[in-house]
Amino acid sequence: MKLIRKIIVLISFTILMSCSNEQNINQSHGIYMLLDTSGTYTQELKQAQRVISFSLLKMKPGDSFAVARVDTGSFSEKDIITKVTFEDRPSQMNQQKRNFLQNIDEFVKTVKGSAYTDITGGILQGMEYLNERDPGKKTILIFSDLKEELGKGYKRDIDFQLQGYRVIALNVTKLRSDNIDPKEYLDRLEHWRKRVESAGGEWKVINDLERLEKLF
């Protein structure tokens, strides 16, 4: 009987310890996705929907996901198309995913091309969003050809602070000029890699959208 008492005390102690020593291990994942809406790239937005759907499939309770457009001035909350932090109740989470998908669908149907491409501003906005959410894992997805074109008067010579960030360029399409001089394309990729890595971030390029598992 003493043995039983000891076992009961041990179980109670374990339960109490589990209640008192709360270990909030942050395992959440935050994703900020930039959608290039400049020029002909809007035609690629259907591909972007695939990426968004795939990301939604993989996301778990507590994860944050925001999709923003890249236009003339992207350093603005107004450019965030839709954003969500998933609830920990499965039924609510399902509904959130459906709503998110619907918002993106509406955006893709009504989007109009922008004259300029402010990728830097988009990244800065993404950093701000993810820093606020403070997830365990931060990822910025750039769905663009990475050709930055700033409007007159826009200043973007700012260094990023990307420690703990993964920056993944998706579907980096080749421009007509890239076909004439492929070095332009490679230089563009190299330029962004250097900017991200020099800011302490991790750089990755995924052009094959059939292999999106690398995102997670």
Partner: protein, 479 residues
């Protein structure tokens, strides 16, 4: 670093020289070296022997303690068995005794009926008619050829025949009536037989139970006397109980795992908590585990209240009214939790369907999502709900193997501890003996290394001995 080269001893001559020096040194220090080796081996041997002795003393104490515990557990179990047998006899006797007045009345009534029928069926010889004597006197009149007399006699004969026939008819009628009475007695006899057979069965049952009690009492006496046979039987049954209960508890753990899988996810719909970890578990998982543990605890206490197990004597010693009330309360609580689990099973199915529909939508399978909604899922829903309802009641019975496990675990642990102590003691003795004989062997090896000086010493001693003998002989001759 010093080496042989630094002393110029790397040459064969140097090595030989070194060996000679070493052998001489060993020879000179032979006596102290022998004493040191013997002392060392003795010290180790004695230390090991003493340690082994101490361990065996502990083993002996532990064995005695195990024996006491085993006997105590056996005595308690046997007492419980005897108590149960007496309770059964008590119930049988109470039931039969309560029926006894009714049975007695029934038997008396049946016997009275039989007696009445018997009295009614007694055969009474038919009364001879009164005129028979007169006829007899007339019949004795000598006829002497008188035709009148002959006619009279013939008339008398005819009358007699007629009377006889009437009497026979009457007699047959009476006999038939008596047979009817006898026939009526049959069901009474049968009823009597049934009642007596039942009584006999009850008595036989009591006798059989008394034989069982006798057997239990003999075993109980054997246990209280602490015989080796009792110890052997109890040890064997203890091991058997341990492994059986362990097997059942492993099955119960499997059931608990299934139950956990069934309720963990829908629990997140109730308590949330799937975003952060506590000791490696999500809050919904902890809640599911706690719920299962609570069900098991309720089950254990329900078994206690029903006096099926005796893990907590305080529950068993409560008065019957309170104990039954507690049992009902626990049962209702368990029923309540089982109902919640059934609800969680239902929620699980709904969540799964919603997940599948959303995933199909995200994969762009609109048709798939629609098909999922229209598919027949009531079978899996019903199965999950049924499982959720049944499993808490199944887990309730884990109290029985748990009690057996706890009781037999003490014995098994004791047996393992005794076995381990014996092994350690044997190892210590073995090492001690090894050192003892190693010391002796080392002496011989030592002597083998210095066999040359020893041989020379022996020769010198022999020569001295021969010389002294010779001198003694010469002295003896001279004298």
């Amino acid at each position: 670093m010093l080496s042989l080269d630094s002393f110029g001893l790397s040459s064969p001559l140097g090595i030989v020289l070194m060996l000679v020096v070493a052998i001489i040194a060993l020879y000179v220090s032979r006596q102290p070296a022998h004493r040191a080796i013997i002392s060392f081996s003795k010290v180790i041997h004695n230390a090991m022997r003493l340690s082994a002795k101490s361990i065996m003393a502990v083993e002996s104490r532990l064995s005695n303690r195990n024996r006491e515990v085993l006997l105590e557990a056996g005595r308690e179990a046997k007492e419980r068995m005897i108590e149960r047998e007496f309770e059964r006899i008590d119930a049988t006797v109470r039931r039969d005794l309560s029926e006894y007045p009714a049975m007695h009345r029934l038997l008396s009534e049946e016997i009275t009926e039989i007696e009445q029928d018997y009295q009614a069926s007694i055969e009474t010889p038919p009364e001879p008619p009164g005129w028979v004597k007169a006829v007899d006197a007339v019949a004795k009149i000598p006829s002497k050829g008188d035709p009148m007399v002959g006619n009279v006699l013939e008339d008398i004969h005819a009358s007699l025949n007629k009377a006889n026939k009437a009497a026979t008819k009457e007699y047959r009628k009476a006999s038939h009536k008596r047979h009817e009475h006898l026939r009526k007695m049959m069901p009474h006899w049968r009823k009597l037989l049934t009642v007596l057979t039942r009584a006999d069965k009850n008595v036989t049952s009591i006798l059989s139970r008394s034989n069982t009690i006798d057997q239990h009492m003999q075993e109980y006496e054997s246990i209280t006397n602490g015989t080796d046979k009792a110890i052997r039987i109890l040890s064997s049954s203890s091991l058997q109980h341990f492994f059986t209960s362990l097997f059942v508890m492993i099955i119960a753990a499997g059931i608990a795992m299934v139950n956990f899988q069934l309720i963990a996810r829908p629990m997140s719909e109730m308590v949330g908590g799937t975003t952060s970890l506590f000791l490696g578990f999500y809050l919904n998982q902890i809640a599911a585990m706690v719920m299962i543990l609570v069900e098991m605890t309720l089950g254990i206490f329900l078994m206690e209240s029903l006096r099926i197990t005796k893990l907590f004597p305080i529950v068993g010693s409560l008065n019957d009214k309170l104990r039954i009330r507690i049992a009902w309360f626990l049962f209702i609580m368990l029923l309540f939790l089982a109902t919640i689990e059934a609800g969680l099973g239902f929620t699980r199915e709904i969540l799964m369907e919603a997940d599948q529909a959303t995933n199909a939508l995200l994969r762009g399978e609109e048709a798939g999502a629609a098909a999922l909604e229209s598919s027949v899922t009531w079978i899996t829903t019903g199965s999950q709900m049924a499982l959720g309802f049944i499993l808490p009641f199944v887990l309730m019975f884990v109290a029985i193997p748990f009690e057996t496990f706890v009781q037999s675990f003490r014995t098994v642990l004791g047996i393992i501890a005794v076995g381990s102590l014996r092994t350690v003691a044997w190892s210590l003795r073995f090492v001690g003996t090894l050192f003892k004989f190693s010391g002796k062997s080392l002496l011989h090896v030592y002597d083998l290394i210095i066999f040359v000086p020893l041989f020379i010493e022996q020769k010198i001693k022999n020569k001295q001995f021969n010389n002294s003998v010779l001198t003694d002989e010469v002295r003896g001759v001279k004298a």
